[in-house]
């Protein structure tokens, strides 16, 4: 067993967060051409994805290594449950508290961020800690 295969992984959480926030801001600026409300709604839609996803990544990498595998899987389930709940609460809060809201901008930005988030994890993968 070499040292490199035993080494734990370093999560590029900050890098993902910065790229995701840059994408959210870019999409919001594009929606600003439609209206100010659309830009604001798009930003909120992006945040509804980014915040639960950051929590999921943080929680999933709390435990690492083969000895911690049961804890790792348990945390993965809990993180996913909390992520879905946070997303539902985020949408509910926006639809109840934010009046008026530009629904197409909100849902479009959210959907784009979901696709982008998956692609980002493929493109920027966690590195081995040296």
């Amino acid at each position: 067993m070499t040292r490199s295969t035993k080494a734990i992984m370093r999560l590029p959480l900050l890098q993902w967060l910065v790229i995701e926030m840059a994408a959210v801001i870019t999409l919001s600026l594009l929606w600003l051409f439609v209206s100010r409300l659309a830009g604001y709604s798009a930003f909120i839609g992006g945040l509804i994805f980014v915040i639960p996803n950051a929590y999921f990544a943080h929680r999933m990498y709390r435990y690492q290594g083969a000895r911690q595998a049961p804890m790792m899987v348990g945390n993965m389930f809990r993180a996913e449950g909390v992520k879905l709940a946070l997303t539902a609460v985020g949408f509910a809060a926006v639809f109840i508290l934010m009046e008026p809201v530009h629904v197409p901008a909100l849902l479009f930005t959210f959907a784009v961020m979901v696709v982008l988030g998956g692609a980002l994890r493929f493109l920027i993968q966690p590195k081995r800690q040296l």
Binding site: M72, I96, A111
Partner: protein
């Protein structure tokens, strides 16, 4: 108007069921693979993390649409 609530419930329920099955398979395979090859555990965790992100993409959009149905269409 009740039909909107039923539609939202079906969306949320189907999404939760599909995510549950997917995560159960994913977690089971992760445990099995980590037990077979412990030295591969960090890499397997990374692959699991990537797959988890893809797995819950569609249910997440479903949650958004269900909330829209409940709070805007029916509300």
């Amino acid at each position: 108007m009740e039909i909107v609530y039923i539609a939202a419930a079906i969306i949320l329920g189907s999404g939760a069921l599909a995510t549950g099955i997917g995560f159960a398979l994913l977690g089971g395979k992760l445990l099995e693979s980590s037990a077979r090859q412990p030295e591969m555990a960090p890499q397997l965790q990374t692959k699991t993390f990537i797959m988890a992100g893809l797995l819950d993409a569609v249910p997440m959009i479903g949650v958004g649409i269900a909330m829209y149905l409940i709070f805007v269409v029916a509300g």
